[in-house]
Symmetry: C3
Subunit: 368 residues, 3 copies
Amino acid sequence: MTAGLSTLFREIRGNVVLWLLAVVPVVFAVKLRHPEAYTLLFVLSVLALVPLATLLSHATESVAARTGDAVGGLINATLGNLTELIIALAALRAGQYMLVKASIAGAIVTNTLFMLGASFLIGGLRHHVQEYNRVSARLQTSLLFLATIAMLVPSIVPDADFAASSTFTQQLSVGLSVLLIGTYALGLVFSLKSHREFFGSSDPAEHGEAALPLGMALATLAGVTVLVALVSEVFIESVQEAAVTLGLTSAFVGFIVVALVGGAAEMAAAFAGARKNRLDLSVGIALGSASQIALFVAPVLVLLSYVLGPTPMNLLFWPGAVVMMLISTLTAFLMTSGGRSAWFVGVLLLMVYLIFAMTLYLLPPAGQ
Amino acid sequence: MTAGLSTLFREIRGNVVLWLLAVVPVVFAVKLRHPEAYTLLFVLSVLALVPLATLLSHATESVAARTGDAVGGLINATLGNLTELIIALAALRAGQYMLVKASIAGAIVTNTLFMLGASFLIGGLRHHVQEYNRVSARLQTSLLFLATIAMLVPSIVPDADFAASSTFTQQLSVGLSVLLIGTYALGLVFSLKSHREFFGSSDPAEHGEAALPLGMALATLAGVTVLVALVSEVFIESVQEAAVTLGLTSAFVGFIVVALVGGAAEMAAAFAGARKNRLDLSVGIALGSASQIALFVAPVLVLLSYVLGPTPMNLLFWPGAVVMMLISTLTAFLMTSGGRSAWFVGVLLLMVYLIFAMTLYLLPPAGQ
Amino acid sequence: MTAGLSTLFREIRGNVVLWLLAVVPVVFAVKLRHPEAYTLLFVLSVLALVPLATLLSHATESVAARTGDAVGGLINATLGNLTELIIALAALRAGQYMLVKASIAGAIVTNTLFMLGASFLIGGLRHHVQEYNRVSARLQTSLLFLATIAMLVPSIVPDADFAASSTFTQQLSVGLSVLLIGTYALGLVFSLKSHREFFGSSDPAEHGEAALPLGMALATLAGVTVLVALVSEVFIESVQEAAVTLGLTSAFVGFIVVALVGGAAEMAAAFAGARKNRLDLSVGIALGSASQIALFVAPVLVLLSYVLGPTPMNLLFWPGAVVMMLISTLTAFLMTSGGRSAWFVGVLLLMVYLIFAMTLYLLPPAGQ
């Protein structure tokens, strides 16, 4: 245990991002003293979530690394987006479904365009041409494509009267959620078991250079999860007011800010992989994370809304969000089909992301 | 002739599906005695159409097999979807254009997603990885893509006043129909003649293990066509009332039920091919049938509506149907571009189909 | 200089199209005597623009050929669509933004479908199967895809009130324009510099069989630019009235007629390349021209509208035009991804073009 603690501390000292952990107590102190300082609380909670997400991601990987291939893969596959899930759960309990949906759509768009694009750009600037496993990329983008279709379908129904439409949307959302979770599970069976030889398992030395011992990892997992949940609460409470003060639309905050904060840890790992010419790792993190959010986190949230939320949440997205998810998925599909990349492929993906970010930033606030 | 008859009977005895032929006289009997028993007539006519479609398909193939490559290919290419055509003609004469269009869209969606997906799944569960001719798949999906564009275009026009728009839609539909039939013909020239070396002609032993003699085949073709036409009439008359009683939306019936009934024979052949690791046969049947309906059956129905229907029919589809056709076509295009398949590719296609079927099943009836 | 002049004259004599230069003075004469003869002026200005565009394109290439690879590539990349740019500028100064946008969308659609499709058809009828550099085709179609997304985004915004929306659209259009020009510049760096080994530089003997001397080329460039500008002015003034007289919708004129006239010179070169089995040249001209219009000409026009136009122009297109551009781009992307072509690929592209042309031709005039 002492060895575990010292490993943990050594890691915190070695990783500059983790120094931000010092902000965590500040968040709670400010929350107690100045509960109305929304903009300050917003900025502080964002700063606090970044190191917590990094720690959480590291603890998850350590647990996965210590429990053998099959269980480890499953843990990674279900807890890989724990930060996003906890933030979304906080928003769900507060009944802020617009924010939940924006953060889901934003995470999909951010991972497939920004995380993937920046990885290609960073890797491409160092290495002339990079190769990666295109079968694996194709599986993930196909799953994403399926999820996007599921999120598109509820909005193509002709205008029936509102009440009927509402029951319809609700039933359809539950059905689609079950179907997406099932497909995700079958996809795991396919890639981890039945056809695993096609999905070149990444080098074991790749992660866990300083894996925590199992006990410490589990304790960290539990402790940090509680902290993330508490900070998320502060974040969700302050985000709307802060957005108004900062002149940001809530669409921009949900799509861009939440997604970048929640995905900070994965991004660090993906970019490091690209620099080291391990593009399989980067592509796997970016697309795997996006497909997990689309086929696991989002449907789980719909089902959990029946237990946790004030009213059930559906899978009906704002049409613009559906279009953006569809374009992101199609772009990622078409750009990764060759299994080769160079810096300009990254530029193209980042430009699509910039187009979306710019649109959301300039969007007139809905209330005015 | 006696030899032919005995071949026919032997075939009927050997094929369990054909035992359902016994239902055919029952349909007519019930129709005479209880013309208002819509639900019973609906169920009976569905049961009767399945063996008739199988017989019709077999007779067509026998005629094709006996008449040499070029003529045979042409016969198969024009009569391959005879059942769908006859059912649609019955609906056309009754002026039920909604049903005609739903059955066209449904056949395209069902063939590209369900028939292809189930073939990949069935084949993939037996054989680890299967290969097929991707040039051929690409030709068919490209044709489908073109047809979907043709069906999308009439609905992107800005709101002009209704009368002008109506003339416009009518003229455009006739023009598009001529264009699609022309493209279909050129596609046959391309794949059967000018570049046939790329479209690996399937093994001659594949079909016609028990091909009927030409005379018997022609007689069967004529006789069964009449029977299908008569049963289709009963089916079309009963389908609407039965749908209400069974709690099914008419969109679901047109899209799913009619398409599955009309395509039963092709499905049996496609699934058998997949089991025997002859995936080229399965892909050819599924995509070939879909493109034939889109580029030949649908435009022929538009042109025939000027002669047979109460008013001309156009190519303007319900927007949801256009979206579903577009997604099906794009999915089939992207999923078959590699020329390789495994069971999970089948799962993905079937899931898209399930999403559509679920949506149509839950759809609130238009009239309420 | 005399040698230059004689080269110029020899070229004019040898090229039948250039005989149409005789129409140029006729345009100005008719304009002076009968300024209201709109239909005549329309037809004459179309006839005059074709040889002028050919001459302009040839002068640009001659300048590019004489100035070394890097500068030459840049000149070709910026002045390659000079005719289209001048025509659009004339429309811009007249405040005819509908026509400007229709001609941009039309040029993209015409180059990716008609020019590319006809090249494939012409080449394919002579040569059984043709190959070309698919990396290069993929770069151009990817750029086009990005531009289409940029033109799609302004129209997916939910209905805010008009004023806010108008500011929003304006700001977004400027931002998107800057972004597209930047991406275009980075694309040039990528294909002409950092990764140029993938973009097989075309044989130097390909162009400039009779390149003009530099001085003559520059003089021709300057002189013909002025003539094109003057004739364009006549064309823009007469096009609307002539369209009504000829029974053409303004959408058809902008999309089809202007695009065919403006692109006549490039088409001649692309078709000649296809006939000589130099498909790389054809694909490069067709897709390169389309991407240049989308990522350079269109955004430059938006930015110039602040200086030249009566009011700023935005990037908000008629939804039908966005759909057509999206389909064209996706079709070109999917059809060129293999790097091989045969005549039927050309037929497919041309059919999509015919579908669009037919729709625009039959479209009821907006004013009625």
